[in-house]
Amino acid sequence: MSSDAIAIPNAGTEARPWVEVVHEWVTTVDHKRLGILYMVYALMFLVVGGIEATIIRIQLMRPHNDFVSPQVFNRMFTMHGTTMIFFVVIPVVFGFANYLVPLMIGARDMAFPRLNAFSFWLTAFGGFLLYFSFLGGNGLYGAGNAPDVGWWAYAPLTSRAFSPGHSSDYWTIALLVAGFGSIGTAVNIIATVLSMRCPGMTLGRMPLFAWLNMFMAGLVILAISPLTAAQAMLCVDRYLGGHFFDTQAGGSATLWMHFFWIFGHPEVYVLVIPAFAFASEIIPVFSRKPIFGYPVMVGATACIVFLSLSVWAHHMFTIGMNSYANSFFAITTFAVGVPTGIKIFNWLGTMWGGKIQFKVPMLFCIGFLFQFLIAGLTGIMQGAAPFDWQLTGSYFVVAHFHYVIVGGILFALFAAFYYWYPKITGRMLNETLGILHFCLFLIGFHLTFDVMHIPGILGMPRRIYTYEPRPGWGTLNLIVTIGAFIQGVAMLVFVVNLVYSYFKGPKAGNDPWDAWTLEWSVSSPPPPYNFASIPVVASRRPLWDLKHPEDPDSRYE
């Protein structure tokens, strides 16, 4: 296999007009560039969502605070949730999938490059449309602003009677458009993985990253469709005289809940399965061992995908379903914890007997393991429906899902950034700043989200702009807010590192981590065509085989 670059005539050493550069990026269909566009887009909205969270936390740091009005606060938590899920985590996981899947399977691009670009711009437009609501939500009636109905937009709060103006419409249509973008990318990922693997790479020799992103893509298609349908029905209700969710006219509020959560629960697995993919690539490299139990990791993820489609009403334990329905969703919720736990054990098994290097990606992965374990266990607690009748709708569940998304997914994402930044930019991120980022974020995260469980236990509901001075609530909320500021500082360190290292970081070379998958066989950054000649592989770790010809993986599995 050759990693020699092919000389490109007139490869630009002279400065080009900026218009030309921008045009190139806007019209690109190259999976690597689209990947970077997704990642930068997500990072921008991560900052915006973080500002919204900071406003929330300042308002809540003491009882009866008046930092913002209830109207503004309600818009903040709605926009924070909607932004983080649809315009941060989904784009960033698509970004990494786009960038890495073709490289890892020895392909030159995704199966449908133009669909790829179209999907990105749909998602991007959706985000801008949602944020235009701050300006344009006033519409004809002078009412409404950014949406303030919560990121689940429960009916009938979203009906014209209770949400005048157009703020709810911005929520509905922005997500509807972005949803089509997600489906396009999902189709692309599946087609790429199934049909564009290089010679010798059977499905059983594909990196787990590719498997897991394919599972994620399948789940996207299954999950986004009911959400899109519900949003269309909501538009019909609001403007075309429909009454699907219009309870004043005999419609059903719980119908919206079912549609939304049939999307909503698989959605959180869409968010977390790529985090599993990052961990499954990074932990082996820094433990210097192959992933423990590759076939079971694939099988367990398949089980998670199927089971995640059966648990949705655990978000609805309090709506008055009968005891049989509640019991059903309790057991499916417990059941989905089994394959998830198995994956944690397999990562542990990978580390066991290894030679663990505590580089920054591995630090974040260890944090991910610890925190995802706890998050999964608080999820199991809420699977016990009667316990959930106390915990849901309170700050306990807010702490739980932030533990998954921040403590689990974001930590794995940071690991992925530190691990693949050298490949994408050709430069290493600064190790000292990385360790500082990790330590600050770890402290801030635990200060905020460990403590946040307690107000929930003490009776504090969620989505409240202020609260009574009940014993402990004020102090606990203050600690939570302090932790949020520490996390903000850590994010600043991260952004500084990203920018500084782009210009001043040490050159990375092809393979700074001594890793084993195909992306490390090409230059950093890769040439536009990825591989001079398409590689031929004989095992799951083609670079291990190259580096250890006396003892290749192909001899054993």
């Binding site: 009005s69 109207q71 309600n74 429960y154 009938p156 709060l157 209770f162 309870t247 509020a253 719980t254 210097r288 061992k289 192959p290 139990g293 309090t318 008055g320 005891s323 019991s327 057991i331 059941a335 914890g337 089994v338 736990g341 198995i342 054990f345 542990l348 098994g349 580390m351 066991w352 007997g353 290894g354 030679k355 663990i356 393991l369 610890f370 266990l377 199991i380 009667p386 959930d388 009748w389 106390q390 709708g393 309170s394 469980h453 236990i457 003490l458 009776g459 969620r462 989505r463 409240i464 702009y465 009940r470 014993p471 250890h548 010809p549 006396e550 003892d551 993986d553 054993y556 599995e557």
Partner: protein, 371 residues
Amino acid sequence: MPCVLRVTSDEAKYLIVMVRSEQIRKLLSKAAGIAVLLAGGLLAASLCFGASDNPSQLPSIFDARSTPTKWIGHLSYFVLSITGLIFVVVFSLLAYAVVKFRKRPGDDGREPAQVYGSNQIELAWTVIPILIVVVLFLATARVIHSIQDAPKPENAVEVAAIGHQFWWEFRYPQLGVVTANELHIPVSAAAHPMPTFLTLLSADTDHSFWVPQLAGKTDLIPNRVNHMWMDPYQTGIFLGQCAQYCGTQHAKMLLRVYVESPQEFATWIHAQQQPAVLDENVAAGKRVFETTACINCHAVGGSVADGRFGPDLTHLMSRQTIASGAAENTKENLRLWIQKPDAIKPGSLMPAMQLSNADLDALVDYLETLR
């Protein structure tokens, strides 16, 4: 080329078992202690808060004062001990691995044994979690059934709770009582059980009735009828609030449940069943009430006012709070509430009544007689 140690699955198992038996026992006991302290610390911290001078003022889910919350409490301790145990075991293994298998300084650069998996180990850590799931499910299903399918006894107090933006309407259909925001129910002693069964309805959006010490929360959903029950075994005042986002003032849709002795409850019911007090001295204020828009939303029993959009005011002064708990029921607050509701609960559906000072004073004097 560095020499690589390659082991088969069986050899790996042997190595792992060997390593485990020596060091795991030592580390497990140490880590178990630490982890249990950590895990219990969270619980202890929350339980600590229960030990204040006025225990009823802290709506902790672990301070059960009613049968459903007691059962939920038992289930939750069971679930917590299982998840706590899982945490201790897995965390210990993680901590051990991170310490024991770290790359040492002066490492020879050889790759460690490349172990691909182990069928026996993976089977074990599949079967054990499945067994745990079965146990958890049986315990959970039992409590679900006990609470949700509990039969309603003959002497149960029946209350219809109707959720509004942003207040609670309570009706006692068999007793002919309509009130708002503050629920009075009798204590239910073990010898003479007298539970309260609530029917939950909504006039507008979704709400949720949550008084953590008395029952798990149940939602009030428009166009749907839900049910819940509680049987408090101690008297006192128990606090709660709406737990499903219902709009701008969701945060101040507070709940108070007064659990009283049967005699006190009967006295209260009797007082609530009376028509409004008619005091000649406040005729001017009554006139203001009945000739402005007040009667469109509010009802006062025995008068022309029969609006249902807002709380029933017949016995307004029997309540300790106004605006669904947002303010103490004092003359100043009442005056402010009518003059400028946004000062107390911005975004609530009570309009600023634009009354002159004289009218406002007369009106408040009238309302103050509605005991």
